[in-house]
């Protein structure tokens, strides 16, 4: 059971590492145990000796008692390569209420907490910012200093007017080593068909993916009541709008887009998680751990 997190308190924390530790502690994530067995200190099972097996792993005490040779097996710990990708487009820099985090801050917090969990799992962590081009890329590494590099990259103020998500994801796929876990934090304001190719490519190249689909509560609920001049921060276009008249169609279109993105990831065997910025992103960490456990 996770400890409940107050989003207002979380948003009030200006230090990204502090936010990350709060989130990671809330999940209680630590080192995991691999399902692969090998030479290690933690006993897993016995099996019969076969010629060619390493004689150092024979349990001599058991051989003395039973006159049969058995090998002693233990859990083997394997590192995972995790590539954290953060969408830094202008649409991510939005919060509908003063006490809410923007989607960008929310994504930063979630990925920073994930990087801490990755570090605690002794996995290899890398990062990339999805702007007009892939930027700030750091390949996965389990070196002790990588965590600070990841947090420093996340804290770099970066924004652009619009992100061509398909292209920047392809650039990340080009740069990533084999069998990585792509953790993508984005609002996915891109047509599903446009990113379908790159998602399929990730699957073909043996990668795994976890989509953190971020949305502000107002984007999801669309409860505006007063007519106003609405501005798109990415395109800069403005429209006079009567929100009550447009609300129903908007909500339907928003939900349909989310379903298409969700289906796209699931069809390719990946995980997709919808997150609201007024709810703590502990589900993201749990989802990562679940994916991690499935790959071990």
């Amino acid at each position: 059971m996770f400890a409940p997190l107050d989003m207002a308190e979380l948003a009030a924390l200006t230090s990204l590492p502090l936010r990350a530790r709060c989130l990671a502690d809330a999940v209680g994530a630590g080192r995991h145990r691999s399902r692969r067995r090998g030479a290690s200190v933690e006993f897993a099972d016995y099996r019969d000796y076969h010629p060619g097996d390493d004689l150092r792993r024979v349990d001599w005490r058991l051989l003395a008692r039973t006159d049969r040779a058995h090998l002693r097996e233990a859990h083997e710990e394997t590192p995972m390569r995790v590539l954290l990708l953060l969408d830094v487009s202008a649409s991510m820099n939005y919060a509908s209420r003063p006490k809410l985090m923007t989607k960008l801050d929310y994504g930063r917090s979630a990925l920073a907490a994930l990087s801490l969990v990755v570090r605690r799992q002794r996995d290899a962590g890398g990062i990339g910012l999805l702007a007009e081009e892939l930027s700030g890329y750091l390949p996965p590494s389990s070196s002790p200093g990588r965590l600070r590099s990841l947090w420093a990259t996340l804290e770099t103020p970066a924004s652009s007017r619009q992100t061509p998500l398909a292209r920047t994801l392809a650039q990340a796929a080009d740069a990533a080593p084999r069998a990585c876990l792509f953790v993508i934090a984005s609002d996915f304001y891109e047509e599903a068909d446009a990113i379908a190719d790159v998602i399929r490519r990730l699957r073909f190249e043996g990668h795994d993916a976890l989509a953190l689909h971020l949305a502000d509560p107002e984007e999801e609920d669309f409860t505006f009541s007063d007519p106003a001049q609405f501005q798109d921060p990415e395109t800069g276009s403005e429209w006079p709008l009567d929100p009550p008249a447009a609300a129903a169609a908007y909500r339907a279109a928003f939900a349909a887009h989310r379903v298409r993105i969700h289906d796209l990831f699931l069809e390719n065997g990946f995980a997709h998680l919808s997150l609201r910025t007024d709810v703590a992103p502990v589900d993201a960490l749990s989802a990562y751990l679940a994916v991690r456990a499935g790959r071990s």
Binding site: A90, S91, M92, Y94, D187, Y189, D216, E218, E219, F224, S225, D226, P227, A228, Q229, F230, Q231, D232, P233, E234, S237, E238, W239, P240, L241, D242, P244, A245, A246, A249, Y250, A253, F254, H257
Partner: protein, 686 residues
Amino acid sequence: MNWLFPEFLAGAFAVGLPLLLHLLRRWPRRPVVFPSLRFLNAGKRSSDNLWQRLCRWLVLLLRCLVLALLAAAFARPFFENRDLTRPNRAVAIVVDNSFSLQSGRRWDDLRQWAREKVGDLAEGDKVGLMLMAPQPSWVIAPTVDTTRPLEALAGLSPGWLTARAEPALRMAGDALAALPADRREIILVSDEQRLTWSGSDFGRKLPPGVTVTSSPIPPAPARQAAVLPPILTTTERGLRATVTVRNFTGRQTRTLSLYRNDPAISTGDATSRSRDGDQEVAAPFSPSANPSPSPRPLRVEKLELEPQETRTVEIDLPGPTDHAFWLRCRLDADDLAADDSAYAVWQPSSEGPVLLDAAAPGADADFAGVALASAANLPPAFTLMAPPAGKWPARAVAVLRNDGSFSGAAAANLDAFLADGGSALIFASGGPAQSAWLAVHQVTFSPLPRRTESWPVHDWAMGHALVAALSQRRLQMLLGWEFTQGWSMPAQAVEPLAHWSDDAAAIGEIRVGPGRVLACGFIPDRRAGDWPVTPSFLPFLHQAVTYLFHAQQVTAVTGLTGQTLPLEGPAGRWHGVEGPAAGVTETELSGAVTPLLPGIYEFTQDKDRKLFAVNVPAEESDLASWTAGTPWLGLISAEPAPEAKIPRVQIAATEAEQRAPLWWWAVAAAALLVLAELSLANRTVR
């Protein structure tokens, strides 16, 4: 459509304000950054669709209409009344509410006639409703609302008074003359009694232009007689009631019953003697006409009355005459029941006896007996006698000083005497019977402690009537009251007149039911001091007896309905006792009263009780109609009505606007449109 204040229509130019705002403020300027506009339908992105445009124009129209309606409301619109060309009428309905209208169906028929007259009035006519009695007064002042006089007319009923037409007609005529109207008319609702016009000054005319229309004369009654208030006189045999019955129609046989409110009197033992024949008639018993409180009539007599005859009947009344009571004479019902009952009150003219018991054993002399015998000839005169062995007379004062008067049959007689309203002056005897009797009445006699010097009586209650009467003679009367032996009463248990000390009363007044007792804590002889031979002894006894006689006195007053009766003294409680007056509930009054219902009334002040016999005016019983033409024509002025410049259009416009207040509907419509505007404005971008 007309306008009372058309200048307010200029306010309609205010509709230019929303129009201007509509044209200037085309789009909302408040920017809202929202990143996911891509999900908005292209057709829904802009608010400039057909529905929005329609809503905006509708909102604009509503705003303009609201302003226009408010301007119209202030301008007070009204529809032009076609009746403006018709002459206006001012009508006063003058209603005769004397008790002669109670006869038969006179009241219902005349009221229906009046209703029809009011129904003939048109819109804009003014009508008022006036009553003649007890004095002319408007029930409804002239108004254009004809429903109000009709409603008031439905709630009216004839009273018990007599009425004269002339004062009411003059008052109504003067009021009509002051009204702006083309025709002024008095509708007289009356039974046209001859009496109604008696004393009228036909030489003095009503204001010019005022006409009178009178109701039709009702049919004459078939059977009508009245009984006049009985006159009570004393005879050698007791009391005699002289009753006069007047017959206003043809030969008829009537039954006269006499009731008395004295339960001690057995019924049927009166004798009567008709003046037109000296025969004694036995009184038949009639259980069907039993008014409260006497269960049976004291006397019932059949009278054969000749046409227009006035018969006088003398009835000897049995029973004691030493206390006040009232009588009711009643005829059986005829066409006019209001005058079939008459009331009288008997008040004895002289004081009762003083009952003095024997002097206490051991007394050196009967000082009290000598003093009272001396005072018997002073006003109020009384006779001095010993208390009888049987029932004591109610209107008497007992002076008791012997312990034997408080035990056995004497004590029972004393209790009955006080229960009948008697009064007693008690001197201390020091005996056990007197102490026991006083203890029963919550008063204890405690002997004063023995001491060498005597006990003075002091601290007199100067506000008490008895003490005040004594001190008015000479203040020295209250000095020199010293006793070597005495008994005290707790000051809180009696109304103290004088004290031995602060909490010990020497003389106190006690109420025993309706009776009154003055208790003195000393003996009236020289065993305890020289008070019986001081100058204050005889005056005290005389004033005490006088005071106790006065406490029993009942004052009787007679009067007529509508007559103002003086109520002397402080405020008291006034209520009806018998007859129609029995419905008059108790009220506190002072100064004077004008009873409107006949019957017996009682007015109770602190220690006084007055009975009032109020009868209907006898002259109103004659229902004969006026026969010498139409009397009101003599009041109508032959002069033409003065030419008055009546601002007809202005007045008519105001009245028309008041009758149909369209401004209220305009305000209501504006309020509804404001609500619609608020609802629609929230759905549009401007």
